[in-house]
Structure formats: structure tokens, C-alpha cells
Amino acid sequence: MANYCSSSSMVDLWLTTAAAARQHVCFHLIPRLSGVVPESCLLIVVGLLVGGLIKVIGEEPPVLDSQLFFLCLLPPIILDAGYFLPIRPFTENVGTILVFAVIGTLWNAFFVGGLLYALCQIESVGLTSVDLLACLLFGSIVSAVDPVAVLAVFEKIHINELVHILVFGESLLNDAVTVVLYNLFEEFSKVGTVTVLDVFLGVVCFFVVSLGGVLVGAIYGILAAFTSRFTSHTRVIEPLFVFLYSYMAYLSSEMFHLSGIMALIACGVVMRPYVEANISHKSYTTIKYFLKMWSSVSETLIFIFLGVSTVAGPHAWNWTFVIVTVILCLVSRVLGVIGLTFIINKFRIVRLTKKDQFIVAYGGLRGAIAFSLGYLLSSNHQKRNLFLTAIITVIFFTVFVQGMTIRPLVELLAVKRKKESKPSINQEIHTEFLDHLLTGVEGVRGHYGHYHWKEKVNRFNKIYVKRWLIAGENFMEPELIAFYRKMELKQAIMLVESGQLPSALPSTVSMQNIQARATPRLSKKREEEIRRILRSNLQNNKQRMCSFSYSRHTLFDADEEDNVSQVHLRKMERRVSMMKGRMSHYLTVPADRESPRPGVRRVRFESNNQVFSADSVPTAHFEQPSTPRTPDAVSLEEEVPKRRNLKADGGGPRGTVSDSNQGELNYQRLARCLSDPGPNKVENYPFMS
């Protein structure tokens, strides 16, 4: 028991150290430094310090255990990357990415391995015992671009989407190549000889590993999506399914020596659209936060351990070998990228510029995967220590030198950066319009191009797949509507944050019955007023930039989000249940536009289950502490039932001059437009976010 406690407290200690280290390193110690130096570097330095400390004490510093690495530390990062992978740029560039990942890595491995073998033949180096296969094995370990390192560095520099997805995609997809090459060469070096048949089998093996990995991942992804369809009664464990299935995908494929990383990515990508359509908003938030948390912790631990392992690990330093390795890695990467781009540009619609090529080449960082693979080499493998030392040197070089200088270089070369953009309904509509247009033009041209296949996949998805994997009636909902809804909710949240909408509602108040439906009886004038207010609100409203970034560190989230969405959800429920009656209410909440806080304004709504006939128009009052201030205050009548006994007003809506809060109007707008005949199953309104 004591042993168990002590070992788990060790783990705890490590984790706490890691978290604290990250916190301090990032924010407190030297804020400006963290702007210049990427976090990964700082964390490695921390690791070095910790390792040094432990050594000074006299203890044996722990080395990054490969088992721990591959089973616990790596999956969260990859899942995070795969789940939030931006699909559109990925699929648009998938050909290029695959070429870089497969052919680029192969080129790197053979170039580095071959030339190192040539080097080792030179007597003066003193490494003649290293044979070709060992060199090739080493080449294959050190040639793969590492997703963890790439993520850590690229996150901060906000490079344009194309280059980002190229480097990042390559780092993810080259796992298959690495796995195959590593296993092959390890086997071969045990056996000693290679035949043509072996090479052929190697190629076959590659396809099996990669496609098998993807298949396993996709199967688990579909299973997860299917399961999420039925979780409407057990919302609490929805996130668990996501994590479980993904991890099972990873484990299963690793078990069969398939590519675990590709399985994980495939699982995340396949599962996401359907799961998000099915799960509740809270589950989605949970998943998002957990993924970010785990991947953050993993990343921190990995880099710290790298530092510690450097101090700890057995080293065999050979100047020539190490330096030549570093140089060769750089050279092969540059040559590979240039050569491949030359070929690829013949097939691309939008060519890769020299600047793009440079960043892709320079961004080829190596990281912990290389180290772990090296560590996995059996300890009676000759030259293991030599290899490890060289690998660590390469990793240090790429992470420190390249990682630190990439940002100034990006600025120096004026590479296109990522444009932060607000989600815009215009952009969505026009992009979809252009998609249709391009598909049509491809049809005229008679060409089965990118858009054609995209269209086919979408159609297949809509007709067959969504039906099975999405709960309730939601599978019919077109993407544009989902997007619009998302936007409106985000705006409502922002308005709550900025205080224009009461967010903390006292328990007596139930905003549960905000019926908002436009009726034909809205007079023209009224409509004009509404429109004018909304328009002016849209301009005045300081909308925060919501960027759909794949950065781990920026999460769009207001703390209010849950609060508002709770309110919102309850609202929706009530509204749908009230749809049966013919209610004609439209909502205005006049409020003070100028005040930053809602102040003492009390808004009273009451739940009401009565059905009103068409011509009775109940009214409601609002207690306003402040007087109307804005000159162009326009009023719209708020018609919400106040008490059980309604005051029929006859006539039409009556306007009272008071301040109008555009924010609230927007909220009303939101409410109104969301008053669609939603899914019949009301209580578990799935939220797409």
C-alpha cells in the first residue's frame, strides 16, 4: 500500500511540477521571453534543470519511458489534433500532404541513412562497425517530422492556413511511414540481409499499415457516432464515449502493428460531425476542455522529460557523427521540399511559392517521437547510445534553433499570416454558393474534379450516413442553418458578457416563455423599426473576434456561455411546446442602451401555459430605473404574458417610447429566428457548436 501510494504520489508530483512549470514559464517569469522563445524550448530547459537537480541529489533521474510515452502521453495530443483538424484545408491539400509525408520521409530516411553509412566507412571517424542497415534504421528514426514539436512552435506564429496544414498534416501522416520503416529496418538488421522480396513486402506493409490504421480509426469513429445517437438519456457519460472509442482505436491499431496515429486521426475526423450533432452542449464543452487539458499536460510532460532524459541518458558522443547528422537532416529536408514542390506544383491549382516552401522546409521539426523510437531500440543494439545522443542533438537543434528563429524569419520574409476573421454568415453563404457554382462549371467542363467528388461525398453523407448516425430529426438540418444558429448563440453570449442582457437570473424569474414569432400582423412600420435597430446594433456592437483557430491555448468560451445556453435551452423547450397554441407574441425588451451593466433593471416574465386566441394581445410591463436617453430610441412592444389573467388589448401592438436595447433585440431576433419547428424531442435539444 505504501508502495502504491508512493508511486502514485510520484506521478502526482511530476504532474504538479509540470503544470506549475508550464504556468510559470509561460506567464510569470519572463513574459517577453516567452514571446521570443517557444514554450517547448523553455520546458526543455526546465527539464534540464530538474534533471540536473536530481542528479546532483544523487538519484537516478527518470528517463522518458517509451511505454509511457506511446501509451499515455502521445494519444491525447494526437486526438486533440485530429478532433479539431480543419477539414476543409486538409482535404483540399491532401494530395500534397501525402506526397510530403510519404515520399518526403522516405527520401529523408534514405538520404540521411545512406550518407551516414558513407561517412561511417571513413576510417578516421572510427565507426566502421556501423553497418548499412543500422544507418538506415537511424535515418528512418530521425527523419520524421514530429507533430508535437510542430504544434508547439507553429501555434504561436499564426502562419497562413495553407502552410500550417501542410506541415501539420505531414507530421501527422508520416507516422505510417515511420512505423513501417522502423519495424522493417529493425527486423532486417536482426536478420542481416535484405532481398528484393523483402523490399516488395515492405511496400505492401506500408499500405497495409496506413490504410489499415485509417480503417480501424474510421470504424471506431462510426461506432462512436452511432453510440452517441442513443445517449440522449445519459448525457453525463457522453464525453467518456468519445475518449474511450478514440483510445480503443489507438490501442487496437497499435496492437496489430498498424499506425496508431493515423487511426486516432481518422477516428476523430470521422466521429466529429455526427457526435457534435448528437451530444449536448455541456458534453461538447467537456470534451473540448478535457482534450485541451490533457494535450497541454502531455506536451509539457514530454518536453520536460526530454530535458531530464538528456541529463540522465547514457551518451556516446562522437563529434563527427552528430554534426554530420544535423547537417544532413537540414540538407535533406530542404532538398526534399524543393524537389517535391517542383513536381507537385505541376499538379496543383494554386502553386506553392518559394516562401511557402521555405517555411515548410524550415518547419520540419523533430521531437519526442524520434527520441522514443530510439529509446525503444533494444539495448544490445550496437551504437544505441550513439544514436540516442545524435537524435537528442537533432531534436535540440530543430526545437531550439529552428523553433526560435522561425518567427523572426516569418516576419522578415513577410510570409502571409493567418487572417483572423469573425465568422461571417456572408462568407458561409457565398462559399457554399461558390461550391455549387464550381461543381456546376466542372459539370459543364466535363471534368471530374475536386468539387465533383466533394459534392458526391456530401450527397452520400446526407442521404445515407447522417440518417443512421444522427439522433432525432436533426439529420435533415442543413449546415448553413446550423452555422447560423451557432452564430446567433455566440452573439447572444457576447451580449450577455458585455452586460446588455441579464445573465444571472434570480430564481423567481423564469425566462422560460419568451415567445418570439413574427406574425403577419407585424405592421410594415414595426418591421422597419426592428430592422433599423438591428442594423445599427450590428455596427455598434463590439463583436469580439472569434477565430476558428486550432490553437490549443485559445478557447472561445465565456463563462457565461453555459448560463445563457441553459436559459436558451429552456427557452427553446418551452417555445416548442407552445408551438401548438397559436401565440402571437413578439418580444422586445426595452432597456438602456448606454449603461454598461443591466443595473437594477428588472424584467419580469412569467411562465404561462395558456393558449391565447389569435386576437387577444397580452401586454407586459417593464420596470426601468432609468429614463429614456437616446434620441433615436425606438420602441417595440414587448408582449409577454404577465399574469394568468391576461389583459386583452384588442387592437394591435402598442408602442411605448422607451429605450431599446439593441442587444436584447438581437437576442429576440435570435429567439425569433430559432423558433422553427425544431425536433420533437424537446428535452434534450442537441446542440451543434
Binding site: I349, R351, N426
Partner: protein, 194 residues
């Protein structure tokens, strides 16, 4: 090469066409083959029915608009030159073109592509996308899946977001501005060989 030349010689004014659109002879030949394949009755002109025979266009939500864009106002048929000119909009832009403001924009520049897309929205050619036109487009894209109310709200919001001069319609400049973050060259180009 021989067949290319012979095909080219059958097309009148082919030099001028290549100059204007920037297509290479190989492109032109491909397009001519396609034109002849569509022109089932060998009249040398395409009619709306010929376009309608293309299955993919029939299924397309905005297929009729696309077909309509090939026919300039008043014309009943499309000849090869107009066919090529319209398709030239979708050629990938030439990156090294010197930016000379005095010269007219080539037909596959970003502005021309956007203008083409704009004209597809703006059916009555008044230079603005009115709310009604936007509603029509939304209706055809979203088919039967949404209520009229939702469509109206979306249209309203779209116009509010884009409309800077408050005329309740989207002009070309506003349209262009709302798409400034999109890589139009990438989004509106297709391959012309193979």
C-alpha cells in the same frame, strides 16, 4: 500535334480567343471537343437544352443560373467563343502578372471572378443584390429544409452584416469586401487539362 493544329484551324479567330482568355492551344482543343460533345445536333451553337442534358447541372441547386450565365442577354444560343470566354473566368490566375492599373483586368483575375459570381446573384443586373434576390438564392440552396421565417432572418442578417451604405442591398464592393478573407483564386479555379 497534327490533330491539335487541324482542330485549331477549324475554329475561327482562335488566335484572338487565346489572346483574350489566356488559354493555351491544348486547352482550346479540349474545350472544343467538349463543346462538340455537348452540341449534339452539330449546329455549332449550344442551346439551353444542351446544357440541361448535363446531369450534374440538373442536380445542382443553382444549375439554371449557371446555364443562364452562359447566354448573354437576348441571346438564344451560345457559340464557341462565348463558351470559352465564360469558362476562362475559372482559369487559375497568373501569379506573375504585373499589376498595371491602366490595362483592363484579365478575365481570370480575382475581380473578374468575383464579378462573375456577383452576376449570378444579381439576376436583374441592377448592380446590387437585393433582399429578394438573396432570398431566392437561399431558397434554392436550402431547398425544402427550412421555413420561410428562417430564410428571411438569415437574409436579413446577411444584408445587415454586409451592407455598409445602408441601402438594404449588397453592392459589388460590399460583396467583395465580405469575401476578402477567402482565397478566391483557390476557390474559383478548376483544372482545364486532363
Amino acid at each position: 500535334m497534327g490533330s491539335t493544329n487541324s482542330t485549331l484551324s477549324r475554329i475561327p479567330n482562335v488566335e484572338e480567343l487565346m489572346q483574350e482568355t489566356g488559354f493555351t492551344p491544348a486547352h482550346i482543343v479540349r474545350l472544343y471537343d467538349r463543346f462538340e460533345a455537348l452540341d449534339k445536333e452539330k449546329t455549332g451553337h449550344l442551346r439551353p437544352q444542351d446544357f440541361g442534358a448535363i446531369n450534374r447541372l440538373a442536380m445542382n441547386p443553382i444549375g439554371d443560373r449557371i446555364i443562364g450565365s452562359f447566354f448573354s442577354t437576348g441571346q438564344e444560343t451560345v457559340d464557341f467563343h462565348s463558351f470559352v470566354r465564360i469558362l476562362a473566368h475559372f482559369r487559375p490566375a497568373d501569379k506573375n502578372r504585373p499589376k498595371d492599373p491602366s490595362m483592363p483586368q484579365p478575365v481570370n483575375s480575382r475581380t473578374s471572378k468575383l464579378k462573375f459570381a456577383f452576376q449570378l446573384y444579381d439576376q436583374d443586373k441592377d448592380g446590387k443584390i437585393s433582399r429578394a434576390e438573396l432570398l431566392q438564392v437561399l431558397r434554392s440552396m436550402l431547398e425544402m429544409q427550412v421555413t420561410e421565417e428562417q430564410l428571411e432572418s438569415i437574409a436579413d442578417r446577411t444584408i445587415q452584416e454586409a451592407d455598409l451604405d445602408k441601402d438594404d442591398a449588397i453592392s459589388f464592393e460590399e460583396f467583395r469586401k465580405s469575401l476578402e478573407k477567402v482565397n478566391i483564386d483557390h476557390k474559383m479555379s478548376i483544372r482545364f487539362l486532363r
